[in-house]
């Protein structure tokens, strides 16, 4: 496959993790107090891998060239809109939707990149931010006939869909892959554990593996080297007579296409688009994912994406009555005290916890979660000096 042994091991590890994610993410038995922390349900698993793709793509730009784009959510959003229009006009099959979303996002990022890359540093960041904010504002308001505005777009029974035959009356259109329904799930029960295997998740996971493989190849290619050279000293590169612009633009477009791919997949898994997807906080989120996981590392962005999405979906759902269940074994006074201590940080306070975690990670682990993994790995290394782990990249996804 053209990979070094280390990279191949990494790819295999990620593949295994993806394959067994329904088990790994559901470590707690159903009905137990800890089941709250289970993440092995289709929607979240899909989101984990899709935002993983988004972050991998962002990392190709930011991690390699150091260009900090603050407008990547626009490409994700544009991709999503393209995909949903394919589903409304052409077919509910996800393949054309995904292909078109990548293509449209690629074209859009070519335009934005071509303009924004005329500047560097924070000037570049603000240019990308400006494009993304304009896309969001217009999509939410004056472009409502195309984007659905506030209420977004969903496939409807009445859409033309020229490739699909007429739906049976009353049937809701469902995204599928040549007939395989993305929502199709199978469950396996083992004792108290229930594991869910979802068709959509595995489709997304396969795409993610391909995206990850391509990203490894880019990282290890001469093109990747060139991008790193841009990061370390663009001026020197220019003095050697090389024009770095085509390289950075290529990186920009590739990462824009990754974002479009993520956008298309989001629509394939959950058939709707809203303009909020392009708001600047969404662009900020992918920056946070990448840095939190470890910018410039292969696996870091995926970890960061998983971490943030897990927080958003799991911590925000814990409410006061669940807390009372957890601490029910305590005497009443202590129970109330503990609940009141923990309460501000969960449920509606999940943003607070997320903010604190950001700060802690950035302060103590400058290299992100990957560095955390490396430190742990080093601890083991000291005990077993012979084992040669590949830079902590084996840190398992949660």
């Amino acid at each position: 496959m053209g990979l070094t042994k280390k990279d191949f091991t990494l790819l295999i590890i990620v593949a295994v993790l993806c394959l067994f994610a329904p088990f790994i993410l559901n470590p707690f038995p159903e009905g137990s107090a800890m089941a709250q922390f289970n993440a092995g349900y289709p929607d979240l698993m899909q989101r984990l891998v899709i935002f993983g793709i988004f972050a991998i793509g962002f990392n190709i730009l930011f991690g390699l060239t150091g260009y900090l784009s603050f407008g990547h959510a626009a490409f994700l959003g544009v991709g999503s809109y393209a995909a949903i229009w394919m589903m409304k006009l052409l077919t509910m099959n996800v393949i054309p939707a995904i292909i078109v979303s990548v293509a449209v996002a690629g074209l859009f990022s070519l335009l934005v990149g071509w303009i924004s890359l005329r500047r560097s540093g924070i000037y570049f960041s603000i240019l990308t931010l400006a494009f993304a904010q304009m896309s969001y504002s217009l999509a939410y308001s004056v472009l409502t006939p195309i984007t659905g505005g506030e209420t977004g777009l969903q496939p409807k029974y009445t859409d033309p869909r020229i490739l699909d035959g007429d739906l049976p009356p009353g049937e809701t259109p469902r995204a599928n892959l040549f007939g395989l329904d993305m929502k199709d799930s199978t469950q396996i029960t083992m004792g108290d554990w229930v594991f869910t295997f979802n068709a959509g998740y595995y489709v997304a996971a396969v795409v993610m593996l391909v995206a990850f493989y391509v990203s490894i190849r880019i990282f290890r290619s001469p093109f990747g080297m060139m991008l790193r050279a841009v990061k370390s000293n663009q001026q020197r590169l220019n003095y050697t007579g090389l024009n770095s612009k085509p390289y950075t633009l290529a990186a920009f477009v590739i990462s824009g296409m990754y974002a479009g791919l993520a956008g298309g997949l989001l629509v394939a898994m959950d058939t709707q688009v809203g303009a909020e997807r392009m708001f600047w906080t969404a662009s900020g989120e992918v920056v946070l994912m990448t840095i939190l996981g470890g910018a410039g590392t292969l696996i870091g962005p995926v970890l960061g994406a998983g971490f943030i999405k897990y927080f958003e979906n799991i911590i925000s759902k814990i409410n006061e009555s669940i807390l009372h269940q957890w601490f029910a074994f305590m005497p009443d006074g202590i129970e109330d005290f503990l609940v009141s201590m923990v309460y501000p940080f969960i449920g509606k306070g999940w943003h607070l916890t997320l903010g604190i975690v950001f700060m802690l990670v950035v302060i103590f682990l400058p290299g992100g979660l990957v560095e955390g993994g490396q430190r742990v790995a080093r601890l083991f290394k000291r005990r077993k000096p012979s084992s040669d782990k590949p830079d902590g990249k084996t840190t398992p996804a949660e």
Binding site: E30, G31, N38, Y41, P42, D43, L44, R47, S137, Y140, S141, V142, T144, G148, G149, E150, T151, G152, Q154, K156, Y157, T158, P169, G170, T172, R174, N176, G179, L180, D181, K183, D184, S185, T186, Q187, I188, T189, M190, G191, D192, V194, T196, D270, T271, Q272, G274, E276, R277, E312, N313, S316, K317, N319, G347, K348, W350, H351
Partner: protein, 449 residues
Amino acid sequence: MSNSNFTRRGLIRSGAVAGAAGIALPTYLRADAHAGYLNAPQGDTVTLGFNVPQSGPYADEGADELRAYELAVEHLNGGGDGGMLNTFTSKALQGNGILGKKVEYVTGDTQTKSDAARASAKSMIEKDGAVMITGGSSSGVAVAVQALCQEAGVIFMAGLTHSNDTTGKDKRANGFRHFFNSYMSGAALAPVLSNAYGNDRNAYHLTADYNWGYTTEEAVRSSTEALGWNTVNAVKTPLTATDFSAYITPVLQSDADVLVLNHYGGNMVNSLTNAVQFGLRDRMVNGKQFEIIVPLYSRLMAKGAGANVKGIFGSTNWHWSLQDPGSKAFVQSFGTKYGFPPSQAAHTCYVQALLYADACERAGTFNPCGVVEALEGFEFDGMGNGPTLYRAEDHQCFKDVLVVKGKENPTSEFDLLEIVEVTPVDQVTYAPDHPQFAGGSLGTCNPGA
């Protein structure tokens, strides 16, 4: 392709049998094949999903919705003083949960973003086995989650959503709205306005630049123009705007004598505050006193505008000062539990939870198709808005609409609005194919299995 769906709780129980048979043999299950619908409650509990904004600008409204849901669950399970269960005309609910099953609930954060709202609703459906999703504080979220519930095959009982689209072009068979809508606001406001301000008025609209704003402007315009008002201008303002001075100063130059603020939430607070700052309320145009109108009032938000709301007309779905037995019972139990009166968002959410429970009880099943059948064309009373009809054609509730005015001498921080008129339901009823609601179809109910 068949879509197998499943319920966690059901599986635990059936899984327990499998577990007894031997853990080594994984059981392959296609759940719900027997129940016939998604997330059929197993055992003695039923799980409802309360999906409300807990972060973002509508977090306080979401918190009030959640309080109302908790109260509803308490009443459904036979706790507290029973609230509206005592005044509700349908007596199917016994206070022993729904169909004898104890009501449990899960909560989630919509963040007032359609993506986040859908993610949270999906986790309730897929992970927690919720058989009904309810809540929300904006039309964007309501439409997005309603579409999701239709696809997944659970019932959606909308929370606060005022755009015509929710039961207009984006209506769905599995979705129901108790809250009123833009059209009703316009129809209820127009006669009151013409009584108070005359028929010869020039209105200037500032409209939030998104779907809800458009439908509200259209509704208020068409109903006031029908009474002889003239619309001078209508300017769209960005959702993200915080300072509206640049939109308000042109009003000074126009010959408008009425300003209509088609804004909600933070936009409303700021645009109203700014309008009052610019002295619009003291202004005389062509010998007439200048007036400001806020088509959709929310007490929680009006609080943010402080004294600026005094004397300003608007409409609202419900207000705690209503004196019918249903409203009094609800205010009593909500006020006793939390120490302050409920908001209209809390009211609509409480009522939606009860209506759902009642529909299940009358249908004898949690099957969404049964619930839809029980709710369609359902007539009831005792829930605070007088006799109400859940219309079968579009799943919209038809009931009296309140026209309110900012109170001049509030006695407390909750006492901000006074009811000017209770517009009878006939006046706000429209044909299901009214042009403002055209373009959608309910489809058929989806039980999800």
